[in-house]
Subunit: 353 residues, 2 copies
């Protein structure tokens, strides 16, 4: 099946494009009324993830509204720990929680590697369904949480402000921490490879909580395991390169290290200046980002000014994938995203001549 | 009155010391059982802040336990907006809240500058009482929130995860945002000068939320107003320099800019590597930090290893004030702080010969 829009793949390979490609983290989600309608039909959030037809429906919804250059699998970052039997659940208005947090060496030793194709078959079914429906329109992006990010949720049992429990393990029992991270790195590798075999054409590793670590702890407990994953991934499939994007939120201080991980691209949150990032690592990797999602609460003129600023900060030449610096807020008005897309599509061609 | 321990002032001036001085953000607080006893006697948190005798008592408590080189005024960072009539209150288990958030141009225009000596007299009384009780033992540190950090609480009305309201103002109505920040910069300047006249010998500006901004927004909406404050502060008092410390949490990417602000020292959270920071700006300012407070949940041996690592990362020579990279956790065991102090006092003299 021919890929009719390969801008995203070309930009990730730092090849020429006619305009800067764009997708948005969490582009299928609660800010869209049509998503909320499907979600109501599905039942719980995890029911929606587990239903291939409905997961496909919400994955495609933002593509109907906006000229996006990629579709991202609708799923959760915590599917792996759920498949390990930790009992993922969601309470209204709160983040994800686990019924059985993992806080001791014994609890870590009792974990076993999920079989991605069998235990996470609902994800693979969703990918196959979406890929069929996309029919070559844009590339399909698969994803996983990073080992460190999965471990924070598994040890804390929920979203944490201070990471007290997981850091107690990191500093107090580093061997146990490494054992857990090693298992997770293997699980993520298997999971992403299964996603690639099921149709994902790009994969992104979300290291949402890497930025909570000191520099040496980041290198030892987060980046090292992402490097292990990148080294174990299928990098060619269906005759095409499968690019890998690493996104460490608040990882701006470590760009040189992240760019050396073997990944094709580095995702940036909005705190890092694109021109600095390009100067520091842009000759080695593509860069993805980095509009503050809160800009989408301002006027179309203000949105346009920020989009122009970021394009200018990256400058002319190849290797820029436009994105938000973090997931789009559920409170965003869909029309504001239209203003974002219009600005990008108006302005970005002048950077690709 | 003679200052018997001036290590902190000497290190902030990058002068020789016999060992690395130390204090801890939030060193007077809930992790100490004696604090909890005083707090119960006082009533609410703000009752404790408003009672000069009891605020003095809790300020001195950590000095009785640990060989600290500074005392920090016990108070809240949100006293200024409270004095502006926003109605600060605390709900059990939650962060600070305001009864009257400030979200419109009209609400900003209706604010007026507090008279620090009159409207915040309880802070000045506490400082005079503490300074008398300290009797030259160690220097007394005063503090304030930064304009941007105060503004985030004032606009959001409470602690925020996404800063949606304050960033809507920043991107959507930058003139209103600047009007609010300008008023706050004037208020903070007056407030810190009143603190200096009342006995503060060092002042720190806490920019807790500057790290939530993009680089250009940080420079325009946070750092610029801190520079304005630094330029307006009393820098000599009682025949001594009054050093200013700027602490932007998650500000590691902007150290060069922060070091150019006119401040004497830059506070670092634990994500920034001390050796990098020293190479980048340590010839211009002193550096303060930066143990991850979560290290205090590990074994004494692990605490010692991290203290040694940070001392080594700064290296030999002057200009290092040891601190945590953020406030100490309420769940810390007081004995763990003893292990921290023991390690620092054992190891640090070898870096000052």
């Amino acid at each position: 099946m021919e890929l009719r829009n390969d801008r995203l793949l070309r930009a990730l390979a730092r090849q020429p494009v006619d305009r800067t490609p764009v997708w948005m983290m969490r582009q299928a989600g609660r800010y869209l009324p049509e998503y909320r309608t499907t979600r109501e039909r599905a039942g719980s959030f995890m029911d929606l993830c587990r239903n291939a037809e409905l997961a496909c429906e919400v994955t495609l919804q933002p593509l109907e509204r906006y000229p996006l250059d990629g579709a991202i699998l609708f799923s959760d970052i915590l599917t792996i720990p759920d498949a390990m039997g930790l009992g993922l659940y969601f309470e209204t208005g709160e983040g994800p929680k686990f019924r059985k947090p993992v806080r001791t060496a014994d609890a870590v030793a009792a974990l076993s590697l999920p079989d991605a194709e069998r235990d996470l078959d609902y994800v693979m079914n969703a990918l196959r369904t979406i890929r069929g429906e996309l029919n070559g329109r844009v590339p399909l992006i698969g994803f996983s949480g990073s080992p460190w990010t999965l471990a924070t949720y598994m040890v804390e049992g929920e979203s944490s402000k201070d990471f007290r429990h997981v850091k107690s393990m990191l500093y107090g029992n580093p061997d146990t921490m490494h054992q857990l991270l090693d298992l997770l790195a293997q699980a993520v590798t298997d999971y992403l490879n299964a996603q690639i075999r099921s149709g994902a054409q790009v994969v992104q590793i979300f290291d949402t909580w890497g930025g909570s670590l000191s520099t040496p702890a980041y290198l030892e407990f987060s980046l090292r395991y992402m490097e292990q994953i990148v080294a174990g991934l299928i990098r060619e499939h269906e005759g095409r390169r499968v690019p890998v994007i690493l996104f460490t939120k608040n990882g701006g201080q470590w760009l040189e290290h992240i760019a050396d991980s073997g990944a094709d691209a580095v995702g940036l949150d909005w705190t890092t200046e694109m021109s600095d990032a390009r100067r520091r690592v842009g000759h080695r990797v593509a860069l993805q980002g980095n509009l503050d999602p809160n800009v989408l609460f301002a006027s179309p003129a203000a949105i346009r000014a920020e989009v122009a600023r970021i394009l200018d900060s990256f400058g002319e030449g190849e290797g820029h994938v436009f994105n938000l610096g973090h997931g789009i807020s559920q409170f965003t008005e869909p029309e504001q995203v239209t203003a974002f897309m219009d600005a990008l599509h108006d302005i970005s061609p002048s950077y690709h001549r």
